[in-house]
């Protein structure tokens, strides 16, 4: 067996130029795929972290059915105790309680319907970037304060500025009229049109009072920067939620914002289409090389057959050559691709105009490729399979050779 490998190794280097060119083609393809898969996955990481970091968190605890229809009565009792238990049990400190309502907010001149959110002022900054994006004034002082922060677009629409009074009129949890007047102490600018135009935040206790909520709230938001922990976290929360209320659910970011997940999946599948085209091109060029090298050696194979080699052994030999060549090329290509990914991981990759867009979301202006087993090995593995399949065709051709005829071949 070792003799065969030796044999194959020597055969490869009989035509150095062709071998190196073929290796270059495979290696280049591999490094390209490693780089672009890494970049693509890196971009998804950015999308996920962006969507979870701004406001929604990685996991939210909600009452069953609340996600589909946000009814005020469908609330979590004693939500702050639950949040404290979550902090203790999971050792994650980025946990905050929110109560959500819908109300008319009104300045002297205008009225708009918006989401009114009651937040734990001490913890909200850990699960959302909004408190950090207050561009004018300050964020809510404490959970009992009678004050409100609003988005910049809403402030503009309402024609109000810091210190002005905002009238809030909605329905409480018991169906009664919820009404209050709070001064605007802060104006945030998150860059998200939806939030800047349609969201106001007030302290949790004030919310619970105005909207007759008692100690109820609607969501416990948990943030963690590693989006892959979502399932672990959900499982970890299960016993805790069951003990508190069997109707509580832990929802991952992908359930809360299915749009992000869908667009990632769509992009992923269109990305795969491109990779398949790339792999197909590589495969055909390699098939061509292998076929050439087999046809070229018809005479040689004829002699080998005459010497008593079985066609299947010669076929094996050709496959071994292909395997060695591809493996070496793939290792080299993958290493180069990894090196490029690593370079951009350290230095970041930025496009023209990206800074402005990213700045709006308080995200880094650079994409960093993801380096993981998946991003590194998936592409090369597919190339390996396809090149070996490509080598199969010339190898099979050998079976049809007639020794005498083959020996006479030029």
């Amino acid at each position: 067996m070792t003799t065969n490998w030796q044999f194959a190794w020597r055969n490869i280097w009989r035509n150095k130029r062709r071998t190196i060119l073929t290796m270059c083609a495979i290696g280049f393809g591999a490094s390209l795929i490693v780089f672009s898969v890494g970049l693509q996955l890196g971009q998804y990481d950015l999308m996920i972290s962006g969507s979870t970091r701004i406001y929604q968190g990685l996991v939210q605890v909600q009452k069953k059915g609340y996600l589909d229809e946000a009814r005020m009565r469908n609330s979590i009792a004693d939500a702050q105790t639950l949040a404290n238990n979550i902090r203790k049990t999971t050792a994650i400190n980025d946990v905050a309680v929110r109560a959500n309502g819908f109300a008319l907010v009104s300045s002297r001149e205008r009225t708009y319907g918006v989401a009114v959110i009651g937040v734990e002022t001490r913890h909200e900054g850990n699960v959302s970037i909004i408190p950090g994006l207050v561009k004018e004034g300050r964020y809510l002082a404490n959970d009992n304060a009678s004050e409100v922060v609003i988005g910049r677009s809403l402030a503009k629409n309402l024609k109000i500025t810091l210190g002005d009074e905002l009238t809030i009129l909605g329905s409480g949890r018991d169906g009664s009229i919820a009404a209050t007047i709070f001064p605007v102490v802060g104006i945030f600018d998150s860059g998200s049109r939806e939030l800047d135009r349609g969201l106001v935040q007030i302290p949790l206790n004030s919310f619970q009072q105005v909207f007759s909520m008692g100690n109820h709230a609607h969501a416990v938001v948990i943030y963690h920067q590693n989006a892959e922990l979502v399932d672990t976290l959900k499982t970890q929360l299960q016993p805790l939620l069951k003990a508190a209320d069997p109707d509580l659910l832990a929802l991952g970011w992908d359930q809360i914002q299915p749009g992000i997940k869908e667009s990632i999946e769509l992009d992923y599948s269109s990305g795969w289409f491109m990779y398949i085209v790339l792999v197909a091109i590589i495969t055909f060029s390699i098939m061509n090389t292998f076929l050439m090298s087999v046809l070229e050696r018809t005479r040689e194979f004829g002699i080998m057959l005459a010497l008593g080699f079985k066609p299947i052994n010669i076929g094996k030999l050709v496959m071994m050559e292909a395997l060695i060549l591809t493996l070496f090329a793939l290792i080299a290509g993958t290493l180069i691709g990894l090196a490029v990914n690593y370079y951009f991981l350290i230095n970041g990759l930025t496009f023209e105009g990206m800074e402005e867009i990213a700045a709006q979301y308080n995200m880094p202006a650079t994409i960093t490729p993801q380096i993981s087993i998946e991003s590194t090995l998936l592409g090369p593995a597919v190339i390996l399979i396809f090149t070996l399949l490509a080598a199969l065709y010339p190898a099979m051709k050998i079976r049809k050779l007639e020794p005498v005829e083959a020996m006479r071949h030029i």
């Binding site: 008319l104 009104s106 018991d174 169906g175 009664s176 009404a179 209050t180 007047i181």
Partner: protein, 250 residues
């Protein structure tokens, strides 16, 4: 406008409509009915029961109306919301909350929102009398109901009408009692239905005194209106339908 409010307070929607008139023309039917509102005043006391699977809320209120485009609703119970009110003038709606002593104009973009947490939307309450102009009415069928003629009218909003419904089907008796009003979405799926369960004769008029708005897909969710007192053609002070009166309940 407050065509719907009048209906909710069980006013005689098709009052004055002569039974012998050409009832085959649905458009005409509705136009005559609405024309007959003009200038009529009313005072009523009613309770609204909002029912949900896990809770129920009863609101008591008084209402004054004048013609089609003026009405004032004032809540009398529960205590927490006493003296809150809504004023409807033409296409505009204002809400008053005594807790903050402010009057807020309900923006037209909020017309789809629920009115006082009930299954009626602001739009249901305050819909303008463009019911004539914005809809195409067809008489589907004429049936018999307890010795009365029952007209079944389908009203389809025009393409450009500011209406969320795909079509509405009304069942109106020849004594002007609205028996049923069904709301369908753009796909023709029933969303909610208003049905009359109690009909009484008060001051010589036959009117529906209990009506229920039922969500089609949720059996346990409905809002029921029951009118206990209704008076017609009363004298209403001139300043009744003003913002300052809304703000200063007496």
């Amino acid at each position: 406008m407050s065509h719907r409010l009048l209906q909710i307070f069980s006013l005689w929607l098709f009052a004055g409509l002569s039974c012998s008139s050409q009832a085959d023309n649905a458009q005409q039917l509705i136009r005559q009915a609405i024309d007959n509102y003009r200038g009529i005043t009313s005072y009523s006391e009613a309770t609204m029961t909002i029912h949900r699977p896990d809770w129920q809320r009863v609101i008591a209120m008084k209402a004054w109306t004048e013609g089609l485009d003026k009405s004032l609703v004032r809540i009398t119970a529960p205590k927490k919301d006493k003296d809150s009110g809504s004023l409807l003038l033409d296409d505009n709606m204002w809400s008053y909350a005594p807790k903050i002593n402010r009057v807020i104009k309900i923006p037209s973009s909020m017309s789809g929102q629920s009115w006082m947490g009930s299954d009626f939307s602001n739009n249901d309450i305050a819909r303008a009398d463009d019911i004539i102009d914005n809809y195409t009415h067809t008489l589907l069928e004429t049936k018999n109901h307890n010795g009365h003629k029952l007209f079944i009218i389908q009203s389809v909003p025009h393409e450009d009408a500011p209406v969320v419904w795909g079509k509405e089907v009304l069942q109106i008796r020849d004594d002007h009692v609205l028996l049923e009003h069904a709301f369908y979405d753009q796909d023709g799926i029933l969303i909610k239905k208003l049905t009359t369960s109690e009909i009484k004769t008060i001051s010589g008029k036959t009117i529906a005194t209990t009506q229920r708005m039922q969500k089609a897909d949720k059996e346990n969710e409905w809002t029921e209106f029951h009118s206990s007192v209704i008076k017609f053609n009363i004298i209403i002070p001139k300043n009744t339908f003003t913002l300052s009166n809304l703000r200063n309940p007496r």
